[in-house]
Each structure stands twice: as C-alpha cells, then as structure tokens.
Amino acid sequence: MTEFITFTVVGLATGAIYSIASAGLVVTYTTSGIFNFAHGAIGMFSAFLYWQLRWDDGWGGSWPAPIALLFVLFVAAPIIGIILQIVVMRGLEATSETTKLVIPIAVMLGFIGIANWVWQGAEQRIPKPFFGRNAKWSIGDAYITWHQTIIVIVAVLLAVALRFLLFKTKIGITMRAVVDNTSLVELNGGRPNRAALQSWAIGSILAAVAGVLISPLLGGLGVLALTLLVVNAYAAAIFGKLRNLPLTFIGGLVIGLSVSYWNWISSTGQKWPWLSELRTTLPVVILFFVLLLLPQEKLRGSHAATIRERFAVPSIQASLVWSSIFVVVVSALSLIITDKWESLLTRGLTMGIIALSMVLLTGYAGELNLAPLAFAGIGAISAFQFDVGSAVETGPGFATLIVLLAISFGVLVFPAFGLVRSRLFFAVVSFAFIVFILVVFFDGTTGTGIASRESMSLSGLVVAALISGSIGAVVALPALRLRGLYLALATFAFAIFVDRMVYKQRETLTFDIPLIGDNEDVSINIFNNGALNIPRPNFWRINFAEKQWAMLIFVSIIFCIFSVALIQLRKSSYGRQLTAMKDSPAACATLGMNMRRLKLSVFTLAAAIAGFGGALHASNLRTIQEDYPFTIWEGLALFMLTVVGGIGYVSGALFGGIIYACAFIVMGDFWGKLAEDWGSFRWLFTFLQDFFLLLGPALAGIGLGRNPSGVGSQIFDGFRILKKKDHRTVLVCGSSLMILSWFFRVIEVYNGWVFILTSLPILFLMPLLAEARDRDVKSRNDTLIEMAGIEYDFSDEFISYIDAELSITSDFNVDERNTLNE
C-alpha cells in the first residue's frame, strides 16, 4: 500500500507537469494553428534560467526564490513568447504545412543551441526542489514531498484559471473567436494580433512553469533531456486532439501515472533489462498509439487549395548531364582539396542520400516524416549486424531471411508502380533473385565473424536498405491514415523510440526463428554497447579505407544514381500518383486510387533509401555512437535544412546534406582559425565561431524555411540563363578560366585560398554577366513597333495644344469614354 501511494503520488506529480506543459501547447495551437515544436525547448530554457538565478556562482545566483520565480515566469517567459510570435510565427498562417512545421523546429534547435552555448561545460547543475529535499509530509508510511504537493496544487489552480480565462473573460473568448474567424474578430473591433500575442505569452509561461517544476525531479540539468521531457507533454495534448483542455489534463495524468506504475512493476526498469529504457519512452509510445486511435479529420477538398507548391521536374537528359558534370566536378575537386575537406564533403553527400528519402516522401508525396535518421540508423545497425560485425551466423538461414525480406519488399513496393499481375510476379521474383545472388556471392556468407570483417560489402548496403525498408513499412502500416501534423508527430514518436530503445539498448536479445532450423537462433546485441564499428567498403580492388578521395567519388556517383532514379520515378505514372496524393487526397479518393497502397510503398521505398544512405554514412565515418550521428536532433536539423534547400528537388537534398555536414563546421573553423591568429580579436572570433556552429542551422531554418521552392533550386535557376545560345561565350570563357585556375592549383602554382578566390568569383560572375547582357539586348528591343521613331516625351502643354487643335474637350472624362466603349 505504501508503495502504491508513493508511486501514485510520483505519477500524479509528473503527470501534472505534463498537463501544464501540454495545456500551453494547446493554447498556442488553437489560437494560431501552429504546433509549437519549440514548446519543450522554452521549458528547458526557463529551467536553466531559473537555475542560473538561484544557484549559479556567476551572474545571478542566490536570488530569493519568489523573485527568481516571478522573473522567470512573468518576465522572461512572456517576453520569449511575444518575441517568438512577432518575429517568427506571425505570418505563418497562410503557409504550407511543411513550413509551419519547419519554422518551430528551427526555433527549437535555436533554443538548444543558445542553451548549449550559454551553459557550456560539464559542470553539474542541480536545481533543488521547493523547500529543500527534506520538506515532506506523510500519508501513513508514504512520504510526500512539498515539491510534489506544490506541483499538484499548481496544476489544479492552473486548470481552473485556464478554464476561467478561456470561457469567462473577454481575452479568452477573443482567443477562441480568433480560431473561428479571424477577420470577423477584426470586423467586431477586436485585435487578433493582440490575442495571438496573449496566447503565446500564456503558452510560454505554461512551458516555463513545467520546466521549472520538472527540473528538480531530474538528477542534473541537461539541455536535450529537459527538452525531451517536455516533449512528453505532446502526447497529452494529442489526448485532447490539441483542442480540448480537460482531456489534455487527463492525458497528462494518464501518462504520468503509467510511467510511474511501470517503474513500480519493473523495479525502475531492472526487472526486464532490455525494456529498461521504456520508462523514458513510454510517453512517446502512448503518443504513437493515441495518434492511431484518434478519430481523424475527414479529408477536405479545400485543404490544399490555398497554397500550391509547384516543383518543376528536370528532363532525363538534363538530370543525366547535371549528374555527369557533378561527378566530374567532385573528382576534379578531390585532386586539390585536403583529406579533411574530402571527408567533410563525403559526409555531406552521404547525408544527401539520406535527404533524398525525404525528397521522395515529403517533397514528392507530401508525407511528413521527422524520423529520417532513425531509418538511417536502422540501416547502419543492419549493415553492422548482418554484414561486417555480426553476432548472427551468416549461413543459409541468413540468406533465406534476406530473400524473404526482398520478396516482401517487392510485394510492398512494386504493385504501386502499376505493373500487371504476371509481370509483378516476375519482377518480385527477379528482384529477390538478384538480392540472393548479391548476398551469396558478394558477401561470402560462410564467415561467422564477430566484428571481424575488415570491409563492408555491397550486400551489406542492400541488406541495410531492405531491413530499413521493412521497418519503414511496419511503422507506416498503422500510420497510414495519418496525415500532416499527426503523421509528423507519429514519426517523431518513432524517432524518439529508436533513440532510446534501440541506440541505448545494451542487452543481447535472442530470437528463435521457427522456420530455419533449431540451432540458428538469432541473438543480437543491437548497439554493441554504445558504439558500432562499420568499416569502409573494399571492392573492385579499391581500398576505400585508405583513399578518402575514392570514397568521395564513389558516394557522389551513388548520389547521382539515386537522384536520376528519383527524377525518373517522379516522371512516371507512379510519380504522378504521388503528386496527386499530395495535392488533393480527397480528389484521389474519389478517383478510386488506392492511397493506402501508394503510401505504404512510398514509405517503404523512402525508408529503404534512408537505410542505404545511413549504412553508407556510417561506413564513411567508420564508427557510430548512440549519440552521433543518427539522433533525433540531427534528424530534425537535416529535415529542416533539406526544406531550406528545397525538399521538392534532388538539389534540395544535396544542399541540405552538404550544408548540414560541412557549411557550419567550415564557417566555425574559419572563425576559429582567425581567433587563433588574431589574439586581440579573439573574443569576437570565438563568438562568431560559436555562433555559426551552434546557431547557424537554426537561423538558416528560421530565415529561409519559408521559401517554398527552396534555396537550392533558386541557385540553380540563377545558372539556368547560361544555357541560352547567346551566352555560350560567357559560359565557355568562364569555365575555361575556372579550369585554368584548377589546373594551376593541381600543379601547385598557388594554394587553396587563391584557387577559391579566383574560381568562386568567376562562378558567380557568369550568370550576372549573362543577365547584364540580356538586359542590354532587351532594352534595345523594348520599344513598341508603332512607337518606333517617335520616342519623345510630350509635355502636358503640348498635349493640350494638340487636343485643342483637334477640338477634343479637355474634360473628356473616363466615364464618358467607358460609355463610348460600350
């Protein structure tokens, strides 16, 4: 009984915090239609700020609790909310769903960046509960701390206050009215902007309350841990369909209690070690299932009507030409850049391959997926487990498993391409056969090595794609009816699940596969105690492990193959179906398209691409850890930067991958180097270095995420002008100069800086020059035919003189002219 009371109280307390946080989420969502992904980060930031004011030795420190509380909750938090609303969120109403998601994600990453920046170092920051650790009272033998008591009281008070605010005060009613009909509020004389500000201030205060209350329940403050903790509240908000506050509060309590009772049953995760992380994952598991059970909004025809992103599709010739140019340029560059740059670029390209999966899924098919790197991680793990360093015996059993996977992959994906039944069968069988050949002959399946193989084989990549694809299908299957934000949240939940349950898995799991003999049990230590070593490939007699340039060129070729294939896919009837599904699911449904099958296939395919890219990425890095490079945060950043680059184009994936892996690191390094060289300006350069490393991606997201077609395609568009015949001279001269500069660098006439300083200006001058020439030609031909020869500005006097001579009255007015016309 005592235990029951203790665990119930703990559950109620955490649940109450979730309720408070999710109430804030609901308030902002209902009044602005924006799901504030940054909500958790605001809570985290407030908790840190409170700690700073109360306990830090430096600035602030030892403020009395009431004053610190007042400052954090009623000064800092509302200001954050208001600034966010004015600077970032205002004007997001009429944008696409993706943008509405990306901007708050960018803000979240921004907060994380700032917190990491301000509160650097490994110092332990331990906030104390209210009235200290020993302030308790008891029911029977069960002790209840004052902190817990306060949490519950605050939650109850806030629930009552919110209810009162929203239903009994003019402010609250206006907020609800804004949701109904913003322009009518204005016609009533109300101020919707002010209502939005108020709601963001309130939402932000609630996040801060949650953050401050929850932080003492953790051991010490951690930026990511705290952010994720408040993310748990998202599940509670979904309980209330992001609208209903009472249900939201109940949802919060349900989550808090489930976690607490789970801890009780499992003795804080010790009973079933492989499930030990479930106590941190349970909220997102609940989130996933609540999303599935939630009655969905009906398909609405008007849904996508206001914003149409139109992505032009390049022709197959163009994509082939560009691909060849790309590979040539990368090869040429590999001759003149250092190993470090080569490895950064390779990382960018492997990330770009993963980003291609988002181009297919989000750009082409309009399905949001926030877990690209979860699938990439699964791919990398599969490659490790089944190829290079497995605990699995790679015998006939393994081959059978892979062939079964290949068949199911074919069955899932191929029908959507619209093959007739007989050819479908043929396609699936031949696909499985190819995979079989690959696995048997290119893998050398006889080995039983445990972390022994020295290089990755091609079949490792194929296996990565197949397994990741199948898991993509398994995740997508229940989520098929979800769309938009709900789908994004479901995939987000999955990503967190993978982060915790897979990457942090330390147990060896043993399965008995029934069909494949007795002694072929599979026992897997999924993450091999926190680090996987995945070696580079070694085929065609090229040792990729020693030659970074070879890896770079190999990866760039793979990127091009995938890109061309995707563009081809987009132009096929399958691609058109995807576009149709993106534009108007309602219309597709009435046309009798089988959207479930389409969605399932595109999900599988995208997950397979991500898995392939993930395995390649891991193999390029050689080792992956539980916290790098496939975490949820990195995934969100990659998603965001791909949107910035233009998620509807393969160039967007290229841009996203490269920017993600290199740009900010390079910029940071650049300032870091300056800081070393220029001691007197050190503070400035170090500041800039931190600024670009920590805040660069977030700022790029906030600043550029709104651009519907993305930055990548715009840059490309800029160069398109050079295709014209008129500008052939510009193109030829420019390219020759650049090749010359490259050549001088190769024979080491000068160093890398000179190369950059000569070739980059030429590159960007070419389109400008062409444009200038165009303008010149245009202005010469601009005169209308009938005006030729009489280009002359007539003065008013002259006109009235002519009018008088022609006896046209000067008050000949517009109305009369109109009637004449009729």
Partner: protein
C-alpha cells in the same frame, strides 16, 4: 452636407489582378445605398475596401471627411463602421452570449447589447448558451444583425443578407435595416437579388466587372437592371 463614407476613384484587387477599377461613390447619413450586380462583379470587394480589409492600390477611402486609407479594420470598426460579411457573420464555436460579448469591443456594454438583441429577436433569448453554429440559418443571421442594432454604428455595410434565407425572414431583416437607417445611419447594402432592396433603398448602383456602370434612384435602376445582367 459631407458624405459619411466616400470612395474616390478606388482601384483595388488581389495580388496582381485589379478587381475594382476607378470606383467612386458617396454615402450620406440616413441613406440606404443598394449595390447590385452579377456574381463576381466586385461588390464584396468594394465592401472589403470600405471596411479596411483590402488596401486600395489607388484612390482614397474617406470617412466623415477624413482620409482613412490603410487603417486597420478593427480600428475602423471601433470608429463606427459595422460590417456584416458575406456568409455567416458569427463565430460558430462560440455560444450566443459569447458572440454578443465579442461585440463589446465597439465600446458598448454587454448588458446594453443583450437588452437590444433580445428585445429585437426574442427567440435568441432562450438560446444564450447554445453554440452559434447550431442555430438555424435565420437565427444566425439575426445574431449577426444584432451587432448592427446594438453597437450604434455610424455606417453599416451589409453583404448578401438574404443568402439562403426564406423570403419572410429576409423581409423582416430588411425592415430592421430600414429602421436603422431612420436613426441616421448610412447603410450600404450588397445584394444580387434586387427587388427586395430596391423597395427600401434611397440610391442604387450597378457594378459589373469592377466598375460602377450606373448610379441613380431605385426606380431608374430597376429598369436598367435587365440590361446589366444580360450584358
């Protein structure tokens, strides 16, 4: 006498496309101006310009002698322009009482608003806590009209009051409009179906393709109408 509302050579549109071209009109206290015309003629767009929802690209919006271009719609509303937009001028997810409460932004107390509303439309008084979206079409329009009645506007802009309603109710509503005009309010009424409004209007205009092609007394306009609709 200066007009309460006047448009001076207004050009306005959405994005690149101009819908209204060089529209001028004047509206005096106590006058009911009926703006008629076929679908897509630009009538609602004219009202949007008057209520501040759409910024004209050229020309001036003058209210009681003052140029008000660029004023926020909510500022204009508080200054005494009451607009009942096309469709439902109510908040469907708010209760009747909360809808009335939203009208207090104009500066009138909720008691006064309730008093006027329930006196004029007794059938709403038994539905104070019902969601407005669940009211019948007629009741919803009554609720919308109660803003015109209770907030003492100087100018009233009405868009398609009759949409989807039975003739009997339409008659009632326009009777009320006439009474409001008698108190000295300047009223601009947009309708597609001319007959009802032309009975109460003091002036009428016909708008097609974003131009005010004809202005005059109602009886004259009536004659001209057929021509306009067919042309």
């Amino acid at each position: 006498m200066i007009p309460l509302l006047s448009l001076q050579r207004i050009t306005a549109g959405y994005g690149e496309i101009s819908i209204l071209k060089d529209v001028s009109m004047e509206l005096f206290s106590g006058q009911i101006y009926a703006l008629l015309g076929p679908n897509g003629g630009g009538k609602s767009t004219t009202l949007k310009v008057c209520s501040g929802q759409l910024l004209p690209t050229k020309g001036e919006l003058i209210i009681a002698g003052k140029v008000m271009n660029g004023s926020e719609p909510n500022a204009l509303a508080r200054a005494g322009i009451c607009t009942i937009p096309e469709g439902k001028g109510i908040f469907p997810n708010l209760t009747v009482r909360e809808n009335l409460l939203m009208m207090t932004s104009s500066g009138v107390s909720i008691e006064a608003i309730e008093e006027v509303t329930y006196r004029r439309f007794p059938q709403l008084s038994s539905r104070t806590n019902q969601l407005a979206g669940t009211l019948s079409g007629g009741e919803q329009q009554m609720l919308a009209m109660s803003r015109a009645l209770s907030t003492n506007p100087a100018i009233l802009l009405l868009d398609e009051l009759s949409m989807g309603l039975a003739p009997l109710i339409v008659g009632q509503l326009y009777e009320i409009v006439q009474q409001i005009a008698e108190e000295g309010v300047a009223i601009l009424v947009v309708e597609q179906f001319a007959n009802i409004v032309l009975e109460i209007a003091t002036t009428a205009g016909i708008m097609t393709h974003g131009k005010l092609i004809k202005e005059g007394i109602p009886s004259e306009i009536q004659k001209y109408l057929k021509h306009a609709y067919l042309g």
